[in-house]
């Protein structure tokens, strides 16, 4: 399920991210931008992790762990 708040985030190709709900700004790295893009498309976290693993040719378990951590970052920062 897509987090509705993710759809509100404004991001650009440089990884700059603005959260209009809080006024906070963030810098994302390339892989975070990829995961966020997948999530905003409506992909699940697992699917986003699979895309991450395939794109960078890393083990799926590593991509899943890293995606989970990124979701934790979003929660801790109050984005979702």
């Amino acid at each position: 399920m897509t987090h509705s708040r993710l759809l509100q985030l404004a991001t650009n190709d440089e990884g700059f991210c603005f959260d209009p709900r809080t006024g906070e700004t963030y810098q994302l790295n390339d892989t975070a931008r990829l995961v966020l893009t997948e999530l905003k498309k409506g992909q699940s976290e697992d699917a986003a992790a699979r895309t991450l693993a395939a794109t960078y040719e890393i083990p799926l378990h590593e991509a899943e762990t890293d995606t989970q951590e990124f979701m934790q970052m979003l929660r801790i920062n109050g984005v979702i």
């Binding site: 994302l28 995961v35 991450l52 960078y56 990124f70 801790i76």
Partner: protein, 469 residues
Amino acid sequence: MKQTKKLTRPYSKPSMVKLGGPLYAKHGAASNNSVPVRTSISKVPVSELAQKFGSPLFVFSEDAIRNAFTNYTEVFKRFYPKMVFGWSYKTNYLKAICAIFHEEGAIAEVVSDFEYEKARALGVPGEQIIFNGPYKPKAALKRAIEEGAVIHVDSMDEIYQIESIATEIKLTARVGLRVNMNTGVYPQWSRFGLNIESGQAMDAARRLAKAPGIDFEGIHCHIGTFMLSVQAYEIAAEKMANLFLEIESDTGIRLKYIDMGGGFPSKSHLKGVYQSPEVAVPNISEYAIAITSCLKRIFADSELPTLVLEAGRHLIDEAGFLITSVISRKLLPDARRAYVLDAGVNLLYTSTWYRPVFELDGDEGSFLEPAVLFGPLCMNIDVVDNSLMLPPLRVGKRLVLSPVGAYNVTQWMQFIQYRPAVVLVRKNGKVDLIRHKESLEAVENLEVLPEDLQQKQATVLGFKSRNVS
């Protein structure tokens, strides 16, 4: 199946950093978005060292040691040729390290019976040993007297003890007097030796001058450690020179040397010092000029005494590196990234006071996030660094910490973990193992298990072992 475009650029874990915080320095400019990279130590690849000898691994550079010693001695001798250099064993007493300093011409400066025995076992003659320290057991004092080492007395009690031993074995002990003084720095080191301002030092000197079995040869001080104040050495040199002359006028004994000890800083970053070491740490020539100018001024009309120096940290710290690897990572509740390394405070005793430089063994990009580095100990205090900016790191990534050559491989702990191997990169590029990684046998070698406790299986309630055939 959906085709995914594969990328060739290296993987970095997804990360986000809130802007307006740590990425900006106080003047509003973006902070330096890079972490230094070190791919080799003395031209030997870090990856090669770690693969061959394991991680963590202490690495010393022979070139760096010899260059540091040459630079230091040449600077001082340029101003004051009549010098003797003692290598401070407690800073790093690995045999290979000490052997290099002795080969370069340093005598041994030891502070315990253990260090005295190490120096002798390495082949250093007794008369080339300065024996410092607040506790020298009777047997060690007797051996030092017999072998002609110079003993720097720390207290009146030690003077009486040396008199007694020398009389008993009918030999003359070579003795120097350790003194302390106010050099204008805080805290004043007053626990070692006898105080100049209160008159204790002169009282001790009078005793040494007339003591049976004692050849009173010199005076010694050591005003502190990681001393950033050049002026403190100038004050100390003046007080030492005046004490030297007062002893001569009072007792008639012309001493042979003034030993100014050590305490010269390395390019390590002392915690609490705002400026970088490149700015905060004076050049060694400034110390040399302060000490030698003072001595030459005060002894302008008489023969210069020999100047003895006992540097440690200044000579070895920057020659030592620690290779460590990320073994796991997690996210802390405050969104900081945390890494568990295979080296912790058990190996980095000095990290309590000094912050090493953290270098990566390869470029991980310029996206930096706040990170914490934990060691491998099952102890909450095992924090290698609790606030630094790093790119997201993968498990297995290596970091190189430096300077860590001083005190860590003498004050490290065998706690929970085996202490790692130590290697020396030689001048010809060869890598020599100079200390094995510890083994269970080595660690338990001194333990004794009483016979009645041997070969008994533990009876554990609630746990059933698997049947193992």
